[in-house]
Symmetry: C2
Subunit: 375 residues, 2 copies
């Protein structure tokens, strides 16, 4: 269930509470990505206590291939398998399968693909991805769709949403015909596609709204298009997606992208950027972006981030973290990932507070100036 708590008077931003069987999620929220049942490099206790993650993601494509559906069933679902007691969301595998260029084939039935692990052949359909996600047991599950690349020609994008919409009807039917495997409620989110074509996005948003699920997602953005096109698309789509339901912008993005999307009425986000870029030494702070590998940090013994989104941001120095990252030490990836995720969580928590206090627009305009600077 989703409850809107506060609407910003100057923008489309809002705060809300998404209630799931594994806990309530205050929105706007950022969801750390735990592809293979692990947020890379981070212990579950640090996700809870230091980062304060309220919900994390798992990827159906990865988990289906390894450890596989039977191991997940034996464990009692993904929550138990990975010892994560808070809410979970799983994607449908669509995005990953369609990234396997040359190793997948699209049919009316679904997508046939070869495993990146052992080359074995598999099929994902709207129905079996529901069945798999029922077994995984995430609180929020996603409909199987085609995520079009950018750029994408109009004809392809149009055909693609037609197929994705047919698939959606089949997914919704299967979802309604089946029960949760583990006794707790699951919500199915359909996904708006349509590349950067306004009429296709509108058409897709109308279709997605029409299936009346608890929440809705927007996919196929942040795939290479200019940020302005993404923002325009969000405005068009959010005019159509119902106000009272949560809106999840998939795979986005930078801190600035997130604030711009919150302003346009988005409630939920996920992205690998804080962990992937963190492992490579990119750190996000309120003052701007740090490339910790830069020589200028070699003798900077001050804390990683005095603003301290996580305890590690205050505990370790820039010089030490630089040493770890330059030396290829695992601990460098761990510290950077904890810091960045905590920063993202703190950013959305602060956005929520600013909306509540009626100060969002002014705060956001100040923040976006600093967030993308290079320190």
């Amino acid at each position: 269930m989703f409850v809107i708590e506060r609407r910003d008077s100057e923008t489309k931003a809002r705060t809300g509470m998404l209630k799931t069987a594994h806990g309530d999620i205050p929105t706007p929220i950022f969801m750390p990505v735990g592809t293979a049942g692990t947020v890379k490099g981070i212990l579950q206790r640090d996700l809870m206590e230091d980062i304060n993650a309220r919900i994390i993601l798992g990827n159906t494509y990865h988990l289906y291939l390894r450890p596989g559906t039977e191991i997940m069933r034996g464990a009692g679902g993904l929550h138990r398998f990975m010892s994560w007691k808070r809410p979970l969301l799983t994607d449908s595998g669509g995005y990953q399968v369609f990234s396997l260029t040359g190793n997948r084939k699209l049919t009316q039935e679904g997508a046939i693909f070869k495993s990146h692990i052992d080359g074995s052949k598999h099929i994902f359909t709207p129905e079996n991805t529901i069945d798999i996600q029922r077994i995984f047991g995430a609180d929020i599950i996603m409909a199987f769709d085609e995520c079009t690349p950018f750029p994408c020609d109009y004809g392809y994008a149009k055909k693609s949403i037609e197929l994705s919409h047919q698939w959606l009807d089949r997914a919704v039917t299967r979802f309604r015909e089946t029960e949760p495997v583990w006794g707790h409620e699951q919500f199915l989110f359909p996904i708006v596609q349509g590349s950067t074509f306004d009429d296709l996005r509108k058409q897709s948003a109308e279709k997605i709204a029409s299936v009346s699920m608890m929440g809705n997602a927007i996919g196929g953005l942040s795939v290479g298009e200019p940020a302005e096109e993404m923002y325009r698309t969000l405005e068009i789509v959010n005019e159509i997606l119902p106000q009272e339901k949560p809106r999840y912008l998939m795979g986005v993005g930078t801190p600035v992208n997130i604030l711009e999307a919150i302003e346009r009425g988005i409630d939920m986000f996920d992205c690998v950027m804080p962990t992937r870029n963190g492992r490579n030494g990119m750190l996000f702070t309120n003052e701007g972006i740090i490339n910790i590998k830069n020589r200028k940090w070699i003798d900077d013994y001050s804390p990683i981030d005095p603003d301290g989104p996580s305890t590690v941001s205050l505990y370790y120095s820039k010089a030490y973290l630089r040493h770890l990252v330059i030396s290829g030490e695992i601990l460098g990836a761990q510290i950077s990932s904890i810091h960045n995720l905590a920063f993202y969580l703190k950013l959305v928590t602060e956005a929520r507070k600013q909306i509540e206090e009626g100060n969002f627009k002014k705060w956001k305009d100040q923040m976006t100036k600093k967030l993308s600077e290079r320190l």
Copy 2:
């Protein structure tokens, strides 16, 4: 300062307390290895709270090359650089330099070597390795010596200890001529060498005892010789090394090696085995050794180790850890390393308790039967 607290009546085992400026260390003790200023994959807080490490190691060779002595000086020493408040020990770099076969040259003066990082040329001498370790500021520092390989012919081993003993005199002189850089006391430990030749080991132990340092180390073991040769060597050497001073067996070993050495009067240990083998999926438990990659664990949803040396041993299942290690996920290395180090610390803590209770010999004989079994 070192105080013997209890001597076992049936064996040479004893308990003690090693007092340093950064805290007291109960012995017998195992010291996790933090080569480049990080125990690989483990946050300092987990080293303290979950593993209960009382002292950890740093490697002079690695830290001298990167980040370098000047960065370490700027930080205020290794403790501050790596934000570690408990005791530290640094080795002299000898072991690493002599492992650089083909990239090092031995002279009377010291060892000339090429950096494994950038090929740059450096020299380690008995004097400059004291100076470097003064700057690093570890509570215990090591004399520079040659660690002979196994097998080693008698003539080479004899010449090697002659050189190492000359170097020791120079190191002791430099140590006595210099003051700690950071205001806290440092102890220099000399190292017994002599390969597996009893007369050379005796000769070396006598030399080492004669320089009257606060504690003594035994090197050049666990380099490929049969375990029985190592145990015999320990017996010979420990007859000569003074009873009232701590004895540190360098680079050893398996849990069984450690119990056998405690029985023979060793107080301190370090080894990369719990972390290195842990990263590869080998887990130590009281019931024996687990290769978590083995297919038999694929659907074992029981805790990693119900005996629970660390919180992660109880929190995560074998099936989950197997999935992480098989998938090459960083978290697998983290969990395995925390578990194994906590197991090692728990083992020496239990040995201490058994010595205190006068039950060591019986307990040790029971434990050694189980510890090397393969589960």
